[in-house]
């Protein structure tokens, strides 16, 4: 057999060639290109090719930072994350805690609780659109219970629209926390907990002082991954409100999508994308550390 096949170092390089090609061709080259395009005022209707667009230099980055809609969308996304992640975490943990242990119907309840996570987000967003429209079941239920007389325009009122989107996000991603925390509760060692009981600790004290510290790592990972994902939120606003009414439910992703692909301001959007990418690469680099510790350290 050819001797080069036997060299482990060569084999290592060989294994990495495909991913290098894929990453460089579809991610790195475009990323490098964006540095140039981000400094032009490229609008495809005016100059079809990006190299024919007018070069404006770093002016675009200043424009991007001064773009009020862009800044507002960042704040709004952070607000959504700040509300949704804690609610999802507490709710998911609560469900996991109540469903822990054996009881009749556990399999059914667990299955039902996990299902929302497996729904295609675009379809889920569309269903929540159907639920919150004027003649939908959300208004129907509230009227049936006598809470309200006239239907609430859930998706046409800025506050209600944002709340509806957050509810949809909570619906879909609470199961994620539920799954992680169920696994964490299941893998808790029973000896220290029993020891605490024997020593006379109350149930609450044992939970707080013995069980919780042992679940610190899964808790951190769950919150971290949810926080990262909720920054990306796109499907729900797109399907439910399209960013409206006005711009009141526009998230970062919606904002970039609209300015790039609806208003075709490619140059400006490229520079805004770069700003978001660089910020999140720096943040992400430090944020993934606990995750990595769990992966490597076992």
């Amino acid at each position: 057999m050819a001797s080069w096949l036997r060299d482990p170092q060569r084999f290592k390089i060989l294994l990495q060639i495909p991913i290098q090609i894929l990453m460089n061709f579809t991610a790195m080259i475009p990323f490098a290109l964006t540095w140039y395009v981000g400094m032009t005022n490229w609008i495809p209707q005016i100059a079809i090719e990006w190299w024919k667009a007018e070069f404006v230099g770093p002016l675009n980055f200043i424009k991007a930072v001064a773009d009020q809609l862009f800044l507002e969308s960042i704040l709004r996304t952070l607000f959504i994350a700040a509300v949704c992640v804690p609610v999802e975490f507490l709710l998911g943990f609560l469900v996991a805690y109540v469903f822990a242990g054996n009881f009749f119907g556990k399999r059914f309840f667990t299955l039902a609780a996990v299902v929302p996570m497996m729904v295609v987000p675009a379809a889920g967003g569309y269903v929540f659109y159907l639920i919150f429209i004027g003649s939908g079941p959300a208004n129907g239920l509230l009227q049936l219970l006598g809470v309200i007389k006239d239907p609430i325009p859930f998706l046409n009122d800025p506050t209600w629209a944002l709340a509806s989107i957050m509810l949809a996000d909570i619906w879909q991603w609470t199961p994620f926390i539920f799954l992680i925390m169920s696994a964490a509760l299941l893998s808790l060692p029973q000896d220290p907990i029993n020891a605490a009981y024997v020593l006379g600790a109350t149930k609450w004290y044992t939970f707080r002082r013995v069980a919780l510290p042992m679940m610190k790592r899964p808790m951190m990972i769950a919150i971290l991954l949810r926080a990262v994902e909720s920054i990306k939120i796109f499907d729900y606003p797109y399907m439910m409100t399209g960013g409206g009414p006005g711009y009141s439910t526009q998230t970062i992703s919606m904002n970039l999508y609209e300015s790039g692909f609806k208003y075709l301001k490619y140059g400006l959007t490229a520079s805004q994308s770069l700003l978001i990418l660089i910020t999140l690469i720096v943040v992400g680099w430090y944020a993934v550390k606990p995750l990595r510790a769990a992966q490597i350290g076992r």
Partner: protein
């Protein structure tokens, strides 16, 4: 003694009430989508909420697969009825095609890299983790610039490339966790017996992780099948996928609620089936192998 029993009973009652509440909250949207898909045109947006279809029909599903002329010919609809003129067949086939091939390429490329990371200490693992933390839209803007230069916009090749790029971090970390589960002694024994490194990988290690490989394949397929944002930015007409098509079904008569719900139902079936099949591994997948579940 009686007091304790009452407390237990109360606790059990609360537990089941809570469980029923969770079940209702979790399943109602799915119930609503399914029933909306079975409702005829007149019931799509009634003045009073129809909690179940009063006059169920399968027409909404038929519309997805057959053209209006065909349905008129069969006498199922009247020519004047407002219906979409396009079927969703193209979108369904596109979704199947791109998700399958994208998953295949991602698996191939990612498994190689994962093995290099697990056994040969190849770097870059951290980079892929960070890559997955970035919002896809910010990565897509550069990609659109690049693809429009190459004339890859709205093309199947471009979609398959992106559907293999985005899930690659998941493949790497999942497959790596499966490789790490195997003791190193297996590799060493094979190498000792005169197997080349490549042979060790293909003949010895890969057969041992085929279960994990199947789980990863289904997981990546679900991810690709669920994607909206990539398809939305890259495709225009030729290569739309199901999630894009759900947003496209509009006509002069307004939103086609029932038809869109029917397409949503079609979209959800594979993810539900595959998701439940790999339920045991979902935690491991979604946490990049950090929690074994």
């Amino acid at each position: 003694m009686m007091k304790v029993q009452y407390e237990n009973l109360l606790y059990t009652a609360i537990k089941y009430l809570f469980g029923l509440g969770v079940t209702f909250f979790a399943l109602f949207p799915i119930y609503w989508m399914l029933t909306m898909a079975l409702k005829p045109f007149a019931e799509w947006s009634p003045t009073e909420v129809h909690w179940w279809p009063w006059d169920p029909t399968t027409l909404n599903f038929l519309v997805l697969f057959f053209r209006k002329d065909t349905l008129v010919e069969w006498g199922l609809v009247k020519p004047a009825e407002p219906l979409i003129h396009d079927t969703a067949t193209k979108a369904i086939l596109n979704s199947l095609l791109f998700s399958t091939f994208g998953t295949a390429v991602a698996l191939l490329v990612g498994t190689f890299a994962a093995y290099a990371m697990s056994r040969y200490r190849a770097g870059g693992d951290y980079m892929f983790l960070t890559f997955r933390m970035l919002p896809p839209i910010a990565i897509l803007m550069p990609v659109v610039i690049w693809f429009s230069t190459l004339r890859l916009m709205d093309s199947p090749i471009g979609m398959i490339l992106l559907y293999s790029l985005f899930p690659v971090p998941f493949v790497i970390w999942l497959m790596r966790s499966f490789f790490d589960d195997l003791p190193r002694e297996i590799d060493e024994a094979a190498l000792m017996d005169g197997c080349s490194p490549a042979m060790t990988f293909v003949r010895v290690i890969l057969p041992l992780v085929r279960g994990g490989f199947a789980v990863t394949a289904l997981f990546i397929f679900i991810l690709n099948w669920s994607d909206l944002i990539v398809a939305l930015t890259i495709t225009q007409r030729i290569s739309v996928t199901i999630p894009v098509q759900i947003g496209l079904f509009e006509s002069d008569a307004g939103h086609m609620y029932g038809i869109m719900a029917a397409l949503g139902t079609v979209a959800v079936i594979p993810t539900l089936v595959f998701g439940l099949a790999i339920q045991k591994y979902l935690v491991r997948g979604l946490t990049f192998g950090a929690i074994k579940g």
